[in-house]
């Protein structure tokens, strides 16, 4: 029998050794089959992990979570309402046709087309128009000042696809028969439904830095955590992102490769979705957070490979922030240590003892159980009752999009990751009446601070305002932060070169992998 979990030891890795040479091919485990490689729907790890290597965006989000020019050679922000992109010259799509501004306009306009129903609409919500303003120039006009739009152009929202291909493939665009035609270091090869997607090195790739080191990469879909782990352990596949927590200790011991931990932007939170109920009282929220054995949760849910946190962002997204801002945002915040007695008292003060809460969960992965059960246990320990309601994964997804689905629901879990290198992405969401402000939390002071920050163009200056917002959220706890955990990666003994980071969602990481 494995002995009792010791406090896990781990450190973040930012880069791995450069490859010693090129590869014929390597295989990669993907925990699920993408439904589509259409960037407009690429909203999940499984899709983006593949897509990031095939399709490129206007901006490039690097493994260290910084933003640099991508298909846009440069970006200008002449007025607070406009963003002007100069499209890079000499880039060709995988079919050999050159990239033009028209392609960018067509690709970006899809997000605005209701018939498409893009998953990235929110990035474009303030866009008034997208126009070609020169041979290789695209101008995006916003309805108001917006410092964030460009940050989103590093992700799937900024992907540029050949306009001709979009028109040609129509409804089959992005599916296993239609495929995609982008500009990335790999081109779409073969999609064996249910089995694998093979990408092939694109020899006409424009960026010599990121020319693929491997002639081929094959993503193998393995839904089963056991299967994935076994395949990694035995060397059947060369690597994989997001290793099942149960398998991490074993893979650390494995001599088939390296188990690595990388930068992440996600914080695991409990969303308070009803502020009119017992949790409307901030003391009850604070009490619940104090009653949660968050270290225990870390141990059970991610086998100890994580750290508890009291704020809703990770330091990694504070790109370009001033040191002062980071000190404020992470040093000068309230801590909520595990203290059941104090928590109980708070609940009594609030007169909420005996109140009932509804927690909604779904059988999505085994850690979901941990959060549900731990929350129930915590609530019970401070005199509250939590009723756990289990719904289907789809109904669970609906909690995030459909207000009626949240009726009568007090709490649910989320792992909220930021897809741009700015913590403001997180806090703009929590403004009054924002779509994803699920509990309808409203704090005028907070709204003012965030709005002010959004209008500031200088990242360092902006970050100091953002730090204030973080402090308010930390006191008020519209969501309950639990812990952050690093991105996990297993890299087999044949390969090297990749930088462990959540940027695998958007950065052509597979191109960096070569022979060890």
């Amino acid at each position: 029998e494995p002995e009792k979990a010791q406090p896990a030891e781990w450190e973040l890795t930012s880069t791995t050794d450069a490859p010693s040479g090129d590869l014929e091919s390597f295989t990669w485990a993907n925990y699920a089959e993408p439904y589509s490689l259409d960037y407009a729907y690429a909203f999940d790890y499984a899709d983006n992990m593949v897509l990031a290597n095939v399709c490129e965006s206007l901006m490039r989000l690097n493994p260290d979570w910084t933003l640099s020019p991508g298909l846009a050679e440069s970006v200008a922000h002449p007025t607070p309402e406009t963003w002007v992109y100069e499209i890079r010259d000499g880039v060709t799509f995988h079919d050999g046709t050159p990239l033009t501004a028209a392609d960018a306009v067509a690709s970006m306009n899809r997000h605005l087309d209701p018939a498409v129903g893009s998953s990235w609409y929110s990035t474009y919500q303030n866009v008034a128009s997208i126009e070609q303003t020169g041979d290789m120039q695209v101008t995006v006009t916003m309805t108001g000042p917006d410092s964030q739009f460009n940050l989103g152009m590093g992700g799937s929202a900024g992907v540029i696809e050949s306009a001709a291909t979009l028109a040609d493939k129509g409804a089959d665009y992005g599916n296993s028969t239609g495929g995609v035609n982008c500009t990335g270091p790999f081109s779409f090869g073969e999609w064996q439904s249910g089995e694998s997607i093979t990408l092939e090195r694109y020899d006409g790739y424009w960026d010599p830095e990121l020319t693929a080191r491997s002639a081929e990469v094959k993503f193998i879909f393995m839904n089963d955590a056991n299967a994935r782990t076994n395949a990694l352990k035995s060397g059947e596949v060369d690597g994989g992102w997001m290793i099942p927590a149960d398998a991490v200790p074993q893979l650390l011991d494995s001599d088939q490769g390296d188990m690595l931990f990388g930068l992440n932007t996600a914080v695991n939170n409990l969303i308070i979705s009803d502020l009119d109920g017992p949790l409307g009282d901030v003391r009850v929220r604070q009490a619940l957070l104090m009653a949660l054995d968050r270290q225990g949760i870390v141990d059970a849910a991610v086998k100890g490979y994580g750290t508890t946190t009291d704020v809703l962002t990770t330091e990694s997204v504070w790109d370009g922030a001033s040191d002062a801002a980071i000190a404020t945002a992470f040093g000068d915040v309230e801590e909520y240590p595990y203290d059941v007695e104090a928590a109980k008292k708070l609940v009594e003060e609030a007169g909420a003892t005996g109140a009932e809460l509804t927690y909604v969960t779904a059988p999505i992965s085994s850690d979901f159980n941990v959060y549900a059960q731990a929350t129930a246990a915590a609530a019970e320990s401070i005199g509250l009752t939590v009723n756990i309601e289990t719904v289907t994964p789809n109904a669970y997804t609906a909690l995030f999009s459909d207000p009626t689905a949240r009726e009568g629901v007090d709490l649910f879990y989320t792992s909220w990751y930021l897809s741009s290198p700015d913590p403001l992405e997180m806090y703009s969401v929590l403004r009054t009446d924002e779509f994803s402000n699920y509990g309808g939390w409203s704090n005028p002071e907070f709204d003012a601070v965030v709005n002010e920050a959004l209008a500031i163009q200088d990242p360092a200056e902006r970050s100091e305002k953002t730090a204030e917002a973080q402090q308010i959220a930390n006191e008020e706890l519209p969501w309950l932060p639990m812990f952050e955990a690093p991105v996990t990666l297993f890299m087999g003994e044949r390969i090297t070169g990749v930088s462990p980071s959540i940027a695998f969602m958007y950065y052509p990481w597979a191109a960096t992998i070569g022979a060890r």
Binding site: E1, D246, Q250, G296, A300, N369
Partner: protein
């Protein structure tokens, strides 16, 4: 059209009598599981969903006889509560399908003619939908959980019972003893319900007992696929599913215990069902 009933019938064919010890052991085992299920709230050492994050995936110990799962929940307690859905759901299916099956089978077998043909055609269609498939389809339509699958399984199994009853009744009906009752002046209803039906009941009962085992395994499979009983409710199939990820870490117990329990219960039910049908097999050839 040939049907699964025929297959079942062949399975039932008489054979050398098993020593009764296996039968007894099976009966005692099933009894124990039933008692554990009924009195789970008294017998179980812990509440089924009590999480103990400090004590996860623990091996067997005096505090946790069968260890704990990935959330530190007591496996033994969850097994006891899980026995409830494991036994009750198939029981409902078997009771419902047996009642409906017998009524329809009696109607078809006794009346014959167009009623028989129409029912036979309907049975053929339902037979074309394997029970598990019908259950999966029900889940697709009505959502996850046990209600839809139980109803679907009842519908899927009713024709098995009905067809068996029909063929038994039809062959009984042509026997001279039925003609003898008629000649004596007894009415058709009386003969069918009070005389012929009791004669075929034991075989139908034995078949239903065997069905219980199949249904149990199928519902457990459904929960294993994540389409049946939903977490955190304790259920054997769902427990195997949840504990599956622990297998790689070498935590075999949480998955193995419910898996073995399913196998043992099905074996016990089959032993009892087959012995029952053996015992009566000789008296009324099907």
């Amino acid at each position: 059209m040939t049907t699964p009933t025929m297959a079942m019938k062949v399975l039932r064919s008489p054979r050398a009598r098993r020593s009764s010890t296996t039968f007894l052991i099976s009966a005692v085992f099933l009894g124990a599981v039933t008692i554990a299920a009924i009195f789970a709230s008294f017998l179980a050492p812990y509440p089924p969903n009590q999480v103990d994050l400090l004590n996860i995936q623990a091996g067997p110990s005096p505090a946790h006889w069968l260890g704990t799962d990935a959330l530190g929940r007591d496996t033994l307690s969850r097994m006891m509560y899980g026995a409830r859905t494991a036994l009750l759901a198939p029981l409902l299916v078997v009771v419902f399908s047996t009642i409906v099956g017998i009524l329809l089978g009696l109607l078809a077998g006794w009346r014959g003619g167009w009623i028989d043909s129409v029912l036979g055609r309907i049975f053929d269609v339902i037979f074309a939908f394997p029970a598990l498939l019908l259950a999966i389809m029900a889940v697709a339509l009505f959502g996850k959980g046990l209600v839809a699958p139980v109803v679907a399984m009842s519908i899927a199994y009713a024709p098995f019972v009905a067809r068996l009853t029909r063929s038994l009744i039809a062959s009984e009906r042509s026997r001279p003893y039925v003609a003898a009752y008629r000649v004596q002046g007894f009415g058709g209803g009386f003969i069918a319900l009070r005389r012929v039906l009791p004669n075929v009941m034991p075989i139908v009962g034995a078949q239903s007992t065997l069905n219980f085992g199949y249904v149990l395994a199928e519902l457990a499979a459904l929960s294993f696929l994540g389409l049946g009983v939903q977490a955190p409710t304790a259920d054997w199939g769902a427990m195997v599913n949840e504990a599956q990820s622990g297998l790689i870490g070498g935590y075999f117990l949480p998955a193995l215990v419910p898996a073995v329990a399913i196998v043992l219960v099905v074996v016990a039910v089959n032993v009892i069902g087959e012995e029952l049908s053996d015992r009566i097999g000789g008296e009324i050839p099907a």
